[in-house]
């Protein structure tokens, strides 16, 4: 029940962060196993879906951190690797303009990218994003505003 209700939202949240389908698939499975194991620790003071999102977000950030550590890659190279996946991966469609937008999003720092994805694509309220990331609503608004400016600058570079 729980898996069926949230699996798609969780998968897309992860996929937009790690880009690759196989990686997103692995992380989504890990997230739900963790949710199952830790369900007894869930406190009713937050919504269940923001709690699951929080676990998914932490798993994504850990995955990207491990990836950087494993290959001794700086942030710039990780961005480049993910950008190449947008150009070459079979599981990605969309026209050139949409691909450019995704590449622009990839230039953002990881946490800002999370904020942007949750606000822009998933249209989550700031209050819920705040529960997921443990950041104040004011800081999230500022982060989103800066993210939009950076993306527009990137799109107008060419």
């Amino acid at each position: 029940m729980l898996v069926q209700k949230y699996q798609e939202r969780v998968y897309w949240h992860i996929r937009k962060m790690v880009i690759d389908h196989e990686d997103a698939d692995d992380i989504t499975q890990e997230v739900f196993v963790k949710v199952w194991q830790k369900l007894h620790t869930f406190r009713q003071d937050s919504q269940l879906y923001t709690w699951i999102y929080r676990i998914a977000t932490n798993n994504c950030l850990n995955f990207l951190k491990k990836k950087k550590r494993r290959f001794f890659l700086p942030i710039h190279d990780i961005t480049q690797e993910l950008t190449n996946k947008i150009d070459n991966s079979a599981g990605i469609s969309g026209d050139e303009i949409q691909r450019e937008l995704q590449k622009a999003i990839l230039t953002l720092p990881e946490k800002q990218r999370l904020v942007f994805n949750m606000k822009y694509f998933e249209e989550m309220p700031y209050k819920d994003i705040s529960e997921v990331l443990g950041t104040s609503v004011g800081a999230l608004k500022a982060s989103y505003h800066i993210a939009v400016k950076k993306i527009e600058e990137y799109l107008n570079e060419d």
């Binding site: 897309w12 937009k16 499975q29 694509f121 939009v148 527009e152």
Partner: protein
């Protein structure tokens, strides 16, 4: 040329998944969850053992070494203190003290042991001392009168 704005873009999801992926995903997750449920509970995880065992070994060796060194040091310090205390008195004063003071059998044994004197408990027993006195041809009555 008009600058590009974010609102000009469609919110399109360009990422794709294989056909029927989400149907299979929930099955895979359920399988993983049930396999996790069947796993026996391990008190010591392999990671904990990998980190814990060498630390425990190092700690144990350190404790043993520390205990040995500290007990040897204490013994040595005791000997030094005894030696320093005795050196303040002349041999005559020490002999006189032993003869005149009421030193218990246990104290004598302990003193002999501390100073590595080869007296055994048997040698220090009352009967042995009396025999020694008899051998030395000392009048026991005189000794008793003296005491």
């Amino acid at each position: 040329m008009k600058p590009k704005k974010l609102e000009d873009f469609n919110k399109e999801n360009i990422y794709q998944v294989p056909d029927g992926y989400f149907g299979k995903l929930s099955l895979k997750i359920q399988q993983k969850v049930s396999s996790h449920e069947q796993q026996p509970i391990r008190i010591f995880s392999p990671r904990l053992l990998r980190i814990g065992l060498p630390s425990f070994a190092v700690l144990s060796i350190s404790l043993i070494l520390w205990f040995n060194i500290s007990s040897e040091y204490n013994e040595l310090q005791d000997k030094v203190v005894h030696h320093e205390l005795l050196s303040e008195f002349s041999q005559e004063e020490v002999d006189s003290y032993i003869l005149t003071e009421d030193i218990s059998h246990i104290e004598l044994t302990e003193a002999a042991r501390n100073n590595n004197l080869e007296f055994t408990e048997k040698e220090l027993s009352t009967t042995a001392i009396e025999e020694e006195i008899l051998e030395l041809d000392i009048d026991l009555i005189d000794v008793q009168t003296y005491l």
